[in-house]
């Protein structure tokens, strides 16, 4: 009795929305007196035209995979986690503390520890809003927004007053020891005879992100816990009836979500900057929302959307470098993508539904 075949809902709607967002973006570029086609060309060569470009595109995509998955997992439980940004910041703190705590001899030892630290800090930062939602009914959207700001202030304090090395003027931690430096794609691919740009930051975290996609897919669609998470997301009262504790699932889902957000720090803090700076997340937590919306909360979709946003980010950086188009253009495109795929999706879906209904009626069923 569906109004529309599932494939149309999963593919056609986001695709059309994306096209609309692209059209309006082109208008915006025209509006500021630039040439959209040239801009797109520059973005494509800048982001995909060289292994350097790919290196950055994949680096950004890695961030967005983590935050996109984080949002998706919470979404499956019916929770709107806007707090990825703060959770990823705290994940950075976890990574920094782990990396600076010991003189790591080799990254293979440092990486699992750092993952643990990132996940733990991210998860703990998500735990409080989760607990408040589960036990006190405080709206998780608002609490996670608040926690983003609290995280920023907290990190600010930590970097300025606690973690800043003696004599340094930057509010940033010291460099991590060499033993905590992650192998980049350049280092990983050169033994295979593939020449990959040395200066691009894409690193082993990409593969961890891909692994996370697989794990999240298994979690959501193959495990009993995932079954319970999805149940709660669809119907709380049915879940109660089935003996699924909403409190437990809310907390677990948010812990997983927070841990995934936190793991982003493996990529940007440990893999790229190799120290913790202010605002290391650069809004990736919010992009995760767009990524998950576009990817329909499915890991595969998240992966595709993250690549798209990685492309946009790197392409946007190139625009800012080589043209007078400010980097904010990317913020606008991002806003349009969120708007069309997330908030205005009914604008696309409603006429499509009517179309499919008319076709079905036409066929006389």
């Amino acid at each position: 009795m569906d109004r529309m075949p599932p494939w149309a809902d999963a593919l056609l709607v986001p695709l059309i929305s994306l096209v609309l967002a692209a059209l309006i973006s082109a208008l915006v570029i025209l509006g500021i007196g630039e040439d959209p086609i040239a801009a797109v060309k520059l973005m494509i060569t800048g982001a995909l035209g060289s292994s350097y470009g790919w290196g950055y595109t994949l680096y950004y995509a890695t961030n967005f995979i983590f935050t996109g998955l984080a949002f998706a997992v919470a979404s499956h439980a019916g929770l709107f986690n806007i707090g990825s940004e703060g959770q990823a910041m705290l994940g950075g703190l976890g990574v920094a503390i782990i990396c600076l705590l010991l003189p790591w001899p080799h990254w293979a030892l440092a990486l699992p520890a750092a993952i643990l630290g990132a996940a733990l800090f991210g998860a703990l930062w998500a735990l409080i809003p989760a607990w408040l939602q589960a036990k006190r009914g405080s709206h998780i959207v608002i609490t996670t927004i608040m926690f983003n700001f609290i995280a920023a202030a907290f990190l600010n304090y930590m970097l300025v007053n606690i973690l800043r090395p003696e004599g340094s003027m930057d509010p940033a931690t010291a460099r991590f020891p060499t033993g905590a430096h992650l192998p980049t794609l350049h280092e990983m691919l050169s033994p295979l005879g593939i020449a990959f740009s040395k200066s691009a930051p894409a690193n082993i975290s990409l593969f961890i992100a891909l692994l996370a996609c697989l794990l999240v897919w298994l979690l959501i669609w193959r495990t009993r816990l995932g079954f319970e998470i999805r149940s709660l997301g669809k119907s709380e009262s049915a879940s109660r009836y089935a003996g699924i504790s909403p409190t437990r699932i809310i907390i677990i889902a948010m812990l997983i979500s927070g841990a995934l957000s936190g793991c982003m720090a493996i990529n940007n803090v440990m893999g790229e900057a190799e120290r913790l700076v202010l605002n290391a997340t650069e809004g990736a937590g919010f992009i995760g929302i767009a990524v998950a919306l576009m990817g329909r909360n499915h890991p595969l979709g998240v992966l595709m959307a993250a690549l798209l946003f990685g492309f946009l980010y790197q392409g946007g950086a190139e625009l800012a470098l080589w043209t007078s188009i400010p980097r904010e253009l990317i913020v606008v495109i991002q806003a349009l993508v969120i708007l069309f795929t997330g908030a205005l999706d009914n604008m696309v879906r409603m006429p499509l539904e009517r179309l499919f209904l008319a076709r079905r009626r036409g066929r006389g069923t």
């Binding site: 009795m1 569906d2 109004r3 298994l218 193959r222 495990t223 009993r224 079954f227 319970e228 999805r230 149940s231 669809k234 119907s235 009262s237 049915a238 109660r240 009836y241 089935a242 003996g243 699924i244 504790s245 539904e353 209904l357 079905r360």
Partner: protein, 540 residues
């Protein structure tokens, strides 16, 4: 009851108060109304009956301008009108009391009454005027409510009065009531009917939607029957009978009795002692329940909705905490602690077919196979679920329970109500539980499925299992149960054997009247009791 001179509305001189011609309405793929025509004469009470989902509410909502018809014409007092919104309907003197009330809970009665019918931009004069008018209406129709009470603080019976007052305040002379008695005690319902009678005497036209044939026979002048979006018949009430109406409703002769062998009860399976429940607002919902159910018997629990049956099922099913004692096969069951949830109840061998299958029993977006393991999804070992095996198992189960279509990968929402219920039953019965809890097993289910579902329940009983059946349909209880207990105000009013009682006696018990059936004060008191507890108990 009064016999109209011109029941079917064939009169030449008087224009019908309302005439609908060829009304059709689709919600997406669902055709809720198909080419419906109906005439309602002024000064009459016109009943509309039909199964759940037949399209009654939709039709009335179209008349009230809440929905817009896809096709068709509306005539009021003989003139064609267009009713694009409720404002237009109100303008034509139509008032409607919805099945689900449309009140603003944090507002006072007075604010609700004036909402949309204010005089001028400032509230003060409107409120003063409404206060006076409400007092007049209260005196005239015995519709007393406290104008300054908040809606959230008054019971459903009172809320319904507010809805009626809203319509009268807007000077409606055509009043539509959509299932007004579903949430009322018999006493409250009687009082409502007295009010309706008086309104009719004043020349107002009333359309009454109900499922209850008794009410149709008691108060209406004409009755229309709807089935699957179509209007199947309109007859004068005096010229019909409940059996005839039932047949019109479902489209074929109705079996009023279930074929079953006499019960053969064995050992006690479920023992309940002194069970008490206090809800989150501090209101006592169960006030000391004692019950037993034995193997091989069906215990029917009768009662007006909202008297604690739902709470009892919830406690037994593990979704509500309680105090007291429950033993299953002699073993005590945890009522408040860690193990008072649905999962451990299932581990004890209690299966539960919930009252509201769409809200509780199924995840509408999940596939059928996922729904056949819902609640039992923790069974089996291994980290990952064996989806292929589960899918095949589900398909087999659906085959056995005659679920149509037997496609396990369709989402639950794409099955019809009866087939959804069969999925739930398949899931619960196939686990071969010691005790089956069933709430409203056939609500909204078509007649073919009803028979099948009843057979399955009886078969489980015959296999020596205990069944606790809760239903608001007395007929269902009388025909299915081996023993009947009646609940009122959180207490068991008494137990009867179906063969040794009748609807009248059970009806009195359901109203809280024991012993002296003639005692009017007891009935009134009981009604007030019921009302006080009924906060917000809406069941779809």
């Amino acid at each position: 009851m009064r016999i109209p001179q011109d029941a079917a509305g064939q009169g030449q001189n008087v224009a019908p108060a309302i005439e609908l011609r060829g009304i059709s309405k689709a919600f997406g793929p669902v055709q809720a109304n198909k080419d419906i025509s109906i005439r309602v004469m002024p000064g009459t009470i016109h009943g509309i009956i039909g199964e759940n989902g037949a399209g009654k509410s939709t039709l009335m909502s179209i008349l009230y301008g809440f929905y817009r018809a896809d096709r068709g014409e509306i005539l009021i007092r003989g003139t064609p009108v267009s009713i694009p919104d409720s404002q237009a309907a109100i303008g034509h003197g139509i008032g409607m009391v919805f099945q689900h009330f449309k009140l603003v809970e944090p507002f006072t009665v007075l604010e609700n009454v004036i909402l949309g019918a204010e005089d001028g931009g400032l509230l003060r004069p409107s409120l003063a005027k409404a206060r006076a008018e409400l007092k007049r209406l209260a005196d005239e129709y015995e519709l007393h409510v406290d104008p300054d009470a908040r809606i959230s603080d008054i019971g459903v019976g009172m809320q319904q009065r507010v809805e009626i007052l809203k319509a009268l305040y807007r000077q409606a002379d055509i009043l539509i009531l959509d299932e007004p008695t579903g949430v009322l005690t018999p006493a409250e319902a009687d009082q409502l009917f007295r009010i309706l009678d008086r309104l009719r005497d004043e020349g107002k036209t009333i359309i009454l939607i109900t499922h209850k044939l008794r009410e149709i026979m008691e108060i209406t002048d004409t009755v229309s029957v709807m089935r699957r979006g179509e209007m199947t018949a309109t007859v004068a009430t005096s010229e019909t009978s409940p059996e005839h109406l039932a047949e019109l409703m479902v489209g074929r002769k109705v079996l009023l009795r279930v074929d079953k062998a006499p019960a053969n009860p064995g050992a006690t399976v479920l023992e309940i002692e002194g069970l008490r429940v206090v809800d989150s607002q501090g209101v006592a919902r169960l006030k000391g329940i004692d019950l037993t159910v034995r193997a091989g018997e069906i215990l029917g629990l009768a009662g007006v909705a909202g008297n604690g049956q739902s709470e009892l099922l919830e406690v037994l099913g593990g979704t509500r905490a309680a105090t007291g004692q429950i033993r299953l096969n002699g073993q005590p069951i945890d009522l408040t602690g860690r193990y008072s949830d649905g999962r451990s109840r299932r581990a004890h061998g209690i299966a539960h077919v919930p009252e509201d299958r769409q809200r509780d029993g199924l995840i509408m977006d999940f596939t059928a196979w996922e729904n056949t393991i819902f609640g039992y999804h923790r069974d089996g070992d291994g980290l990952l679920m064996e989806t292929r095996a589960l899918r095949e198992e589900a398909a087999a189960k659906m085959e056995r329970f005659d679920v149509r279509p037997p496609d396990a990968s369709l989402p639950a929402k794409s099955f019809s109500g009866g087939n959804q219920q069969k999925i739930v039953l398949a899931r619960e019965i196939e686990r071969n539980p010691d005790l089956l809890l069933v709430g409203q097993p056939t609500r909204g289910v078509d007649i073919g499925a009803i028979e099948f579902i009843h057979q399955q329940i009886v078969a489980l009983r015959d296999a020596g299992k205990a069944v606790l059946l809760v239903s608001v349909e007395l007929e269902e209880i009388l025909s299915l149960a081996d023993r009947v207990a009646v609940m009122f105000d959180g207490q068991i009013m008494g137990e009867r054997l179906p063969g040794e009682t009748d609807e009248t006696e059970l009806g009195l018990l359901m109203a809280g009247v024991t012993g002296q059936p003639d005692d009017p004060f007891a009935a009134v008191e009981a009604a007030q009791f019921a009302q006080a507890r009924e906060h917000g108990e809406h069941h779809g």
